[in-house]
Amino acid sequence: MLESLKKNGKGIILLLISAFSLALGQLLWKKPLENVDVAAALAQGFIGILGVFVKILPGFVVYAIGAIVMTIGLGYGELSVLQPINSMSYVFALILSAIFFPAEKISWITIVGVFVVIAGVIVIGGSSKNDASDH
């Protein structure tokens, strides 16, 4: 397990950062669109499309940064080890929504699920045996 962390460690950390960016980006683009009929806005043509675009821009920027961090991270280790770490974005999304929307109830099943996802990521993260430096 330690061996894998040495080989994939940098990649694991970068993928965790990117999973966080994905969760934050999602929060930033979903919330502004909550009360917007996207299909109707897009049907309005250029102005409508621009309106939607401006609303999702901050989320999009965070997403793009996350994608760049993920791309760099994927170079440091096995794809089959690193890519599933994306699932940590569900965990970060939950933490963020608990921070920014404390009124929203979180079911205990979801909290159990979060810990199960973390366990799965730990199992996969420590699983590399062959050389991870190829890319």
């Binding site: 791309t71 994927l74 079911s107 979801t110 973390i118 990521v121 199992v123 699983s127 062959n130």
Partner: protein
């Protein structure tokens, strides 16, 4: 949400498989774009693989949005984990990475976790 016809279900399954495959293939291209050890990080933005991967992710996201209109979030979210199965397959075929028991176990645990997260949110 409208009741689903057989045709709807076929379309949903096809989109699900294509969408998850694309997002898995996208991560493969992003890996190819990665400058990794010591390479200039700017190079990444010049790599066609980076944009190819990006476009695939966007198409996959559109497929996901379509699925969310047809099925509840609590169903779509765990089904998205099919991506990890594709990735294990693709990384084995294209990159020669080993499919180990531990990776499969971790993947199953993640899928169970995501299902619980989604189920809890759907309540």
């Amino acid at each position: 949400m409208m009741p689903l016809t057989t045709k709807d279900i076929i379309i949903i399954v096809v989109i699900l498989l294509v969408e998850t495959f694309l997002s898995s293939l996208a991560s493969y291209f992003l890996k190819k774009a990665s400058p990794a050890d010591g390479g200039s990080k700017i190079k990444l933005l010049l790599s066609p693989f980076f944009y190819l991967g990006g476009v695939m992710y966007v198409i996959a996201a559109l497929g996901n949005i379509y699925l969310l209109q047809k099925l509840p979030y609590a169903v779509v979210l765990p089904l998205g984990s099919i991506t990890y199965i594709w990735t294990m397959f693709l990384s084995n075929r294209l990159l020669g990475e080993k499919i180990t028991k531990r990776k499969i176990l971790g993947m199953i645990v993640i899928i169970v976790g995501v299902t619980l997260v989604a189920y809890g949110k759907g309540k």
